[in-house]
């Protein structure tokens, strides 16, 4: 039940426990208990809303920053990652295999603010060797949802 439950609420966090019970063919109390457990275990970490900001008047600039760092003895990358992810404007930090070490996703109101963050805060950290900043120009698909396409039923209305 757990996997299927997670798959449903990952797409629709607003679905209520009664409906979840129907869809999964279990009792509502089982759903309530399982959801509580999933939160306790830190598997469910939040209930967000997917917003296409481009359609609003609110200006937002998102940047993906590749960061090369020197890992620290005994700590690996965890310490430096923590230094970076503590900044509230940092949306995500991933440790990455390949040509660089950390991928930092930053969301700000303007290009200038991102530039400031990179030059003042990120590059000045001791372990940071280099950064490469990429700005997102357009989001086509996010969290598995296509922003530009609208579902249209192309089937005949009645078929055998």
């Amino acid at each position: 039940m757990r996997d299927e439950l997670l798959a449903i609420i990952e797409k629709n966090s607003r679905i209520d426990t009664k409906e979840l019970a129907v869809l999964l063919g279990v009792e509502e109390i089982d759903i309530i208990n399982e959801l509580a457990k999933l939160q306790d275990e830190g598997i469910i970490c939040g209930f967000h809303t997917l917003i296409n900001w481009e359609k609003t008047d609110i200006e937002k600039v998102t940047a993906l920053i590749e960061v090369r760092v020197t890992p620290q003895r005994g700590q690996g990358f965890d310490n430096i990652a923590e230094r970076i992810y503590k900044y509230p404007e940092v949306r995500a930090v991933y440790l990455i295999s390949g040509g660089f070490d950390l991928l930092v996703i930053l969301e700000e109101k303007s290009l200038k603010e991102i530039a400031n963050f990179v030059s003042d805060k990120l590059s000045t950290l001791d372990s940071v060797l280099s950064t490469a900043t990429h700005f997102i120009l357009k989001k086509y698909k996010d969290h598995g949802i296509m922003f530009s396409e609208k579902y249209e039923d192309k089937r005949e209305v009645i078929t055998p």
Partner: protein, 389 residues
């Protein structure tokens, strides 16, 4: 001028689906729950393989019976799902949808005057195809109290000296009924005893919500007297690719291939390449779609329960078949009125045979959101009908 038409075809009644289709088509803003095909797009990796085959210029005929690679994958699939052996060179024929396999299967096996037993409610093609093959259809009216399964008693009663083929349409369209191993064993006993053959249409084999589908060919003694029909339309959401197959004893497949060769030449090449990919790497897609169908199925059963509408729990395909007898209307009257008053299209059970009277076929090849709106409207409708009574 002389009459240009064949009496046989003129005398075949037009599909009940068609009649209802015309009414629904006039209503532009109606929600339809009347579709017998998946709402999912064909998974991208399968489409991509079709596109790739076109890019590579694989645009020629394949051999009459189909691509060797595809026949091998079909044979592997039946080995892993039913533990039966089919020789890809002699026992497998790739067809233009399961529908072609039904047609040419009958034509390859039936002589004038032979009888074909067809349990109904069931898919609309069996009866006309049997007639076109010169045979006489003998209908078994399946019963709601048996969850629309076929019983050995019903079968025995329908068998005569002229019976040649039993059509076994499970998992069933339109009822959603399945046949489990014990049910099939009882049928198999009668089949062997009476020395008849089976055409087992298993197009919905991958869509079962209880145990895994059991084919009658997996029951000892049945493989040699069964034409198994399946295809890619339902499992992989590939209806428009028109691709199915028949597996059976090589003597029968050989004659079917002869008809196929003269009438069709070969199944679409692009579709065959895509189908190889589907069988090789499509298991996860099926799983994902099946999970979604099962959630919708549970949603509908719960909605019927809440509105007090009688419906046996179907464990196959993507249809539910609720009973509307309490309203004192025919299926057609109910479906028409429901469409006019609430703008929701369903298919009257009678489109699938007389024994569908008193039932509606509701397809759940629709998003949960659509089903929710439709069930809200159905609830309003039945509440109103009950008040009027």
């Amino acid at each position: 001028m002389r009459n240009p038409l064949s009496d046989t075809i003129v005398n075949i009644k037009p599909s009940g689906i068609r009649k209802f289709f015309d009414i629904v088509s006039e209503m532009k803003d109606a929600i339809s729950l009347g579709v017998g095909e998946p709402d999912f797009d064909t998974p991208w990796h399968i489409r991509d393989e079709g596109i790739y085959s076109l890019e590579k210029g694989r645009t020629f005929y394949t051999s009459n019976s189909g691509l060797k690679e595809l026949k091998t994958e079909i044979s592997n699939y039946l080995k892993r799902s039913q533990n039966v052996e089919y020789n890809p060179d002699t026992d497998v024929l790739v067809t233009v949808g399961g529908s072609e396999a039904i047609d040419i299967g009958f034509r390859a096996m039936l002589n004038p005057g032979d009888e074909v037993i067809i349990p109904q409610p069931s898919y609309v093609s069996y009866e006309p195809c049997a007639i076109l093959a010169g045979a006489k259809p003998v209908i078994i009216n399946l019963k709601a109290e048996n969850e629309f399964r076929l019983t050995a008693e019903e079968l025995l009663e329908a068998i005569t000296d002229k019976t040649k083929i039993l059509v076994l349409p499970f998992p069933n369209n339109p009822t959603g009924a399945i046949m489990e191993k014990e049910d099939l064993e009882k049928i198999a006993k009668v089949i062997i005893e009476k020395d008849i053959f089976v055409m087992s249409d298993e197009i919905y084999a991958e869509l079962t919500y209880k145990d895994k589908h059991v084919s009658i060919v997996s029951i000892p003694g049945m493989q040699e007297r069964t034409i198994l029909i399946n295809g890619f339309s339902k499992a992989y959401a590939m209806t428009g690719w028109r691709l199915g197959y028949a597996c059976g004893p090589k003597e029968i497949i050989k004659q079917m291939t002869k008809i196929h060769q003269y009438a069709i030449m070969c199944a679409p090449t692009t579709s065959q390449y895509a189908a190889v990919e589907a069988l090789k790497n499509g298991d996860d897609d099926i799983k994902e779609m099946k999970t979604a169908y099962n959630q919708r199925r549970r949603f509908l059963m719960n909605a019927f329960k809440e509105m007090g509408l009688e419906c046996f729990e179907p464990y196959g395909a993507f249809y539910v078949f609720p009973c509307i007898k309490e309203f004192g209307m025919t299926s057609e009257e109910f479906a028409t009125m429901f469409l006019k008053e609430e703008k929701v299209a369903t298919v009257p059970g009678t489109a699938f045979g007389d024994s569908g009277e008193g039932f509606l076929r509701i397809s759940y090849a629709y998003s949960l959101e659509t089903l929710k709106i439709a069930m809200e409207r159905l609830k309003n409708f039945v509440t109103r009908l009950r008040e009027r009574q």
